[in-house]
């Protein structure tokens, strides 16, 4: 079909829709019954209950079934499952490296080895962290940011530190975990994360490690089925295949080697790989050839057009390409750049495209020529995953899972005025708990004071002697008694051990403790270097204070949003109102836990009718 035909079809379709679409109801249902004409105009995003435990969502997958489970992976690869559209979550797989949080190094074991390993332990910090070019462009300097908390073994610590540094300094896009539900057997769910591939065969309830990441099997970035049921995985360095459900991977060296694979799409009797090095084509998913697009930019998505045989779009960061002949020829369909594009979907209606990026959600109604935002009330633009479920469109951002709902019309005339701890005060109350006081370890002040503090010795000695002397020559006996006591005081600064002399032989000599050691956080310190140890502890406090600040802010903002929604929620069914109230109570309890109860004590509420 010629391009002019497509344009006429789009215009006709748009015209027909304009007449058929009914007016929005005054009070909309909780979720859209059908996909709307333009999502961004008619619907808003609603954040479902956050995952909890401070998890930052990174990937999303849904079972293609009515009422099927939804899966979310956080940045560390922990998997959370919900069977009630995000109202409640259950974590079924711990994150990569989570065990290290709970199992701190055994201090006694370290002490036993400390003498031999002392130098290595103190010089453990890596000199430079190299980041694979396929993952991130550039090299990260070695001086570890003091805010970065390094845990676990050296390899894992280096990985965490590298990811954190990359995230903090914006040096590139970190590799996030990926989730995939096998459409042929929806109870099979695959997870790719830093430590390897994990597989569940019971809808995410239990997980088994299928294979571990290695130099030849790098981190997986996507899954799909190929010809004859072969499992295909895109990785940060090319394509891999498995014929045993991910237990072992085959590296058939081909043109995709070294390229980060974003997606593989089946269309027009071919497989199309979207990669950091452009577009690749394969007849069977096993061997690949590069497709020239007229530019070398990376390709982020291939989007089939269900209304056009052999028609699909190819999305790059700078333009949207289109083919109408199965990839024989391409032309530019749209030139509007989509910064940070991550994925693109074709919705039910012809030419309706939905794009997610680290800059929000965008949609186009004309096949990618013009784009508009679709992120009303989306409080977090860093969109990392999207899926179309039987209840509508859902996405994930680091804050959690969002779904599209109709904006609700406020009918209540009453307003709730609530006064509680402000966000800065809440954070302050959390990080200034007694145990979190950083002033306890104010190094410059304490170091100077300690250096000038003297040692005081008080000494009391008493001696008594009795002597009897007998002389047979003179036939005389004499007794002599003698007693004396002394008391002394001494102040000394530094090196006091050698200046105090105790006169009696029976007194044990001074024993200095310079050679004894102790362990903090996996590092060995001499008894005589408390400042070094204090610095180590202070770093841990700073790191945890930062975590607390983020955690409290997240809870506080979520709570503020829920409180603001109270008048709106009153128009909803009783169940929704109760669940909404429970969400607020839960956030209150979380904030209380982090502020030793200060948050609830600060709340005062008044309700008044508006005029």
């Amino acid at each position: 079909m010629p391009r002019r035909g497509l344009l006429l079809l789009l215009l006709a379709s748009a015209s027909a829709r304009a007449q058929d679409v009914p007016a929005p109801p005054d009070v909309a249902p909780a979720a859209p019954d059908a996909l709307p004409e333009r999502l961004g105009e008619r619907f808003v995003w609603e954040l479902r209950a956050p995952l909890g435990s401070g998890a930052r969502a990174a990937a999303l997958a849904v079972q293609p079934l009515a009422g099927g489970a939804w899966f979310v992976a956080d940045e560390r690869g922990a998997v959370w499952v919900t069977e009630d559209q995000g109202a409640t979550w259950e974590r079924t797989l711990r994150g990569n490296g989570s065990a290290a949080d709970d199992e701190l190094p055994d201090a006694e074991t370290l002490l036993l080895e400390a003498e031999a390993l002392r130098d290595e332990a103190l010089d453990e910090a890596p000199a430079e962290l190299e980041v694979t070019p396929g993952e991130v462009n550039g090299t990260v300097d070695a001086e570890l940011d003091p805010e970065v908390e390094v845990e676990g073994d050296a390899g894992e610590a280096a990985g965490i530190a590298a990811a954190e540094l990359v995230r903090q300094r914006g040096g590139g896009e970190a590799v996030l975990p990926v989730l995939w539900v096998d459409p042929a057997t929806p109870e099979s769910v695959f997870l790719g994360r830093a430590d390897g591939v994990w597989r569940s065969t019971d809808s995410g309830r239990t997980w088994d490690e299928a294979s571990r990441s290695s130099a030849d099997d790098p981190q997986v970035t996507m899954f799909r089925r190929g010809a004859d049921g072969v499992l295909i995985a895109g990785t940060v360095a090319g394509v891999r295949y498995s014929v045993d459900e991910g237990n072992t991977w085959i590296h058939a060296e081909d043109a995709t080697d070294g390229a980060r694979i974003y997606a593989i799409t089946e269309e027009a009797s071919s497989y199309w790989a979207s990669t950091s090095r452009g577009l690749f084509r394969s007849a069977n998913g096993l061997s690949w050839d590069r497709v020239a697009l007229g530019e070398s930019a990376e390709v982020r998505a291939v989007v089939p057009d269900p209304s056009w045989d052999n028609g699909f779009w190819v999305a790059t960061a700078s333009a949207l390409h289109r083919t109408d002949d199965g990839g024989a020829t391409f032309y530019v369909a749209g030139r509007q750049p989509l910064r940070g594009l991550r994925d693109m979907l074709h919705m039910d209606e012809t030419g309706h495209l939905l794009a997610i990026s680290d800059d929000g959600v965008w949609e186009s109604m004309d096949g990618g020529v013009a784009w508009t935002t679709a992120d009303r009330q989306l409080g977090d633009p860093d969109v990392r995953g999207v899926a179309v479920t039987d209840t509508g469109v859902v996405i994930v951002t680091p804050r959690g899972l969002w779904r599209l709902v109709a904006p609700r019309i406020v009918t209540s005339k009453s307003h709730i005025h609530e006064k509680s701890l402000s966000l800065p005060d809440s954070i302050r109350a959390s990080v200034s708990r007694d145990e979190m006081d950083i002033d306890l370890l104010s190094l410059s002040k304490l170091g100077i004071l300690a250096a000038f503090a003297p040692q005081l010795d008080l000494k009391f000695d008493y001696g008594a002697s009795a002597a009897r002397r007998t002389s047979f020559a003179t036939l005389s006996t004499g007794d002599a008694y003698d007693g004396d006591w002394t008391i002394g005081a001494q102040l000394c600064w530094g090196g006091c051990g050698s200046t105090v002399v105790v006169e009696y032989d029976a007194v044990a000599p001074e024993i200095e403790t310079a050679d004894s050691m102790y362990v903090f956080d996996g590092k060995v310190f001499d008894e005589g270097e408390p400042i070094a140890a204090a610095a180590n502890v202070a770093q841990r406090i700073r790191s945890y204070r930062r975590y607390l600040a983020e955690h409290v802010a997240d809870a506080w903002l979520s709570r503020s949003r829920l409180v603001a929604e109270i008048p709106t929620v009153r128009t909803q069914p009783l169940r929704e109102q109760v669940l909404h109230a429970l969400q607020i109570q839960e956030l209150d309890a979380r904030l209380d836990a982090l502020t030793n109860g200060d948050f609830t004590r600060s709340i005062t509420r008044t309700t008044e009718e508006s005029r």
Binding site: A450, P454, Q455, A467, A473, Y504, E527, L594
Partner: protein, 196 residues
């Protein structure tokens, strides 16, 4: 065993029609411990209450005021005999002497630098960090479990029991959440429900 939690949530409740307001629904759970009571149970059971940490901190500060005390005692018993030798006679005891010496020393040492900073205190601060993290973690988890359980109760209360399979599934989930909360509170949660 009678599934008491499910019975609590369903028996006598006809469904959502019986309730008109959020407060009426919440009132159905008045006989259960509030979340802050459950948090207190966790703190007591896990010994992570802030008062313990404060006691450690106080002890580590005040310990430096106590001196290092050393006490020594020595006793020296000496004796000697003097013999006089004459060329025409055997040796004869000429004299003897006995010495008894007693010595005692008491020494007290204060290191004022340890009032400012000591390895013991740093160790306590370091340990207290682990306690704070553990406390925050268990409170976060118990809060989540508490409200997961409450949401399930609300669902059962307002949506009705459903079919037998759904009822059994809900009952199992409710018992599981209760058991998890009991694990964090040493059984105090169920005990508190039974008391009320």
């Amino acid at each position: 065993m009678i599934p008491f939690l499910f019975a609590l949530a369903t028996s006598g409740f006809a469904g959502a029609a019986d309730f008109r307001t959020v407060d009426e629904v919440m009132a159905r759970f008045e006989k259960e411990p509030e979340v802050r009571e459950v948090q207190e149970m966790v703190l007591q059971y896990s010994k992570t209450d802030p008062k313990y940490v404060n006691e450690w901190m106080s002890a580590s500060r005040n310990a430096a005021w106590l001196p290092e005390i050393s006490v020594a005692y020595d006793y020296d018993n000496g004796y000697g005999y003097d013999y006089a030798y004459d060329v025409n006679a055997d040796g004869e005891l000429d004299g003897s002497d006995v010495d008894n010496d007693h010595g005692m020393s008491v020494r007290a040492k204060w290191r004022f630098d340890r009032l400012v900073m000591s390895s013991d205190r740093i160790r306590v601060i370091s340990e207290s960090q682990d306690i704070v993290k553990l406390r925050d973690k268990v409170l976060e988890e118990i809060t989540r479990l508490y409200f997961d359980r409450r949401r399930l109760q609300v669902d059962v209360l307002l949506a009705g029991g459903g079919d037998l399979k759904t009822q059994i599934k809900n009952e199992m989930r409710l018992q599981e959440l209760t058991a998890q909360i009991d694990a964090y509170t040493g059984g105090r949660f169920s005990a508190a429900i039974n008391e009320k």
